[in-house]
């Protein structure tokens, strides 16, 4: 049986100094252990969606359930926040200590975990993101990708089931971006964490189980990355691009080649083109 670990029920959110709702009624279920990516333009409400998952924001209408517990239940907010690890965009603004391992220890310290167990959790979390060797370093001397992986280790130390990342790669260079996405993918595939990653980089959606496109506070598309991207006209109408591979296939299709638009990786795409041509000239 699959279980919905995150559940949005007709969720609306209105910031107190705004006229218009940022989230205009979202129904969404996320399966345990799945890797979901949320894509959307600036101002589509994707960051608000992230903050709604761990009770930083409480829906103005409707409710968000984490493991069946409503985020509006004030007596449970510590439980919810330790269940949903939230990683933000700017690594500098989420690191609280001058030493890497002290920073990773921050969350378990807040939870009142005994000292020896904190030490174990910190060691474990840092190893999971491949930053154990740098545990004694000062965070401000590390690269963006390394800082972001420390931020991930910082939420792992809470031993959450869900990791929500709000544009974790937006401020990183390509190398840092790759390291962070690889670390997150590994956590989902090998350690069984449920991952919800918000991004505006197409390439980061390819490895996901599910792709949700947000536009103007609503879910505009929802499905596997291949099926969502294959509707090129719809993505364009939402002001979003599609991966290069889908773009090539789409352009070829317009020229009269009968090719499916579901190949996302470069290898798959090449294979599709070759096979398609073979059929044509056979």
């Amino acid at each position: 049986m699959t279980m919905n670990i995150i559940e949005f029920k007709n969720v609306h959110y209105l910031y107190s100094d705004y006229e218009e709702e940022t989230i205009k009624g979202i129904d969404l279920c996320i399966e345990k252990g799945s890797f979901t990516v949320v894509l959307g333009r600036n101002g589509s409400g994707k960051s608000t969606l992230a903050k709604l998952t761990n009770a930083i924001l409480i829906p103005t209408e409707g409710e968000v359930l984490i493991n069946g517990i409503s985020t509006a239940d004030e007596s449970k907010f510590i439980d919810i926040r330790s269940e949903v690890g939230l990683v933000f965009q700017n690594p500098d603004n989420q690191i609280v200590a001058n030493v890497v391992e002290e920073d990773v220890a921050f969350a378990p310290e807040n939870l009142g975990v005994p000292s020896e167990e904190i030490r174990d959790r910190v060691t474990g979390s840092l190893k999971q993101v491949g930053m154990y060797e740098l545990r004694k370093h000062a965070p401000h001397l590390l690269s963006g990708g390394q800082k972001q992986r420390i931020a991930i280790a910082g939420v792992l130390a809470m031993q959450p089931e869900i990791i929500v990342l709000d544009e974790p790669t937006a401020m990183l260079d390509p190398q840092g971006r790759e390291d962070v996405v690889n670390a997150v993918t590994k956590l989902c595939r090998e350690k069984g964490f449920t991952v919800l990653m918000i991004t505006h980089h197409m390439e980061e959606c390819i490895g996901a189980d599910r792709l949700i496109v947000m536009s103007d506070g609503l879910i505009a598309a929802d499905g596997t990355p291949a099926s969502v991207f294959s509707d090129v006209e719809k993505m364009e109408s939402l002001g979003l691009d599609v991966p290069e591979t889908v773009r090539i296939l789409y352009d070829l299709k317009k020229e009269g080649f009968d090719l499916p638009l579901t190949s996302l990786s470069t290898e798959e795409c090449a294979e599709t083109i070759i096979r398609g041509n073979l059929n044509k000239y056979a």
């Binding site: 761990n54 609280v96 001058n98 391992e101 310290e109 807040n110």
Partner: protein
Amino acid sequence: MLKDITLGQYFPSNTVVHRLDPRTKIVLCIVYIICLFQANTWLAYGLVLALTLSVMALSKIRPSAILKGLKPLIIIIALTCLLNLFYTKGTPIREGWPITYEGIERAVQMILRIVLLIAGTFILTYTTSPIELTDGLELLLNPLKRLKFPVHEVSMMMSLALRFIPTLIEETDKIMSAQKARGADFESGNLIQRAKALLPVLVPLFVSAFRRADELAVAMESRCYHGGEGRTRMNPLKMKKADAFAFILGALVLAGFIILRILL
């Protein structure tokens, strides 16, 4: 230029002094300052100097590190020296000269006092990491909680401030470069003109600092921060034998200085 600031700089090492509990070091630093201000004879000054040098040797701090830290204070030291030199009454070194023998003595003692005061506090910050320092202060000030003084909050604010100093310095450098690229001039003009030129640096710096503070607060809440109540530590501070020994030594030194003061 901004990177030269040696504010609260920590030199990691593993000497006896580094391993002492931060609480011990803070208390002993206060004892040291009391002794220093007690000193009014050359003998007492000599003893404080010997004490400072031996702790420096124990903690393997090079004198050049202390001297580097003294550099920004040179004006204050020079001013104190001059004032004492010219405004102390006594026997002039030559008929009609404003400089007196007593003045020279006081000026030298004043310089010694300031230099030793700074050296002492530098030894504390050089051998104690900022986290240890704020943890130590939090525990030392804990009794004040009864008087509703927000001890945990103040210590958290201090450690966050220390954490963000390098980040904000980096940001200041960036903003200054950006403004220079648009023709801002920070180097010429008199003091007032230069202060005015800094305004286009300070405004964006403050705006960004507030935005950072906002994001940091949300990130801290996301990691279950809810005040000092029920918080544990990964490395709880523990007093060891060496700390007891250091306390006894500190008490003896303090007693010695008080006796010296009474006798002489």
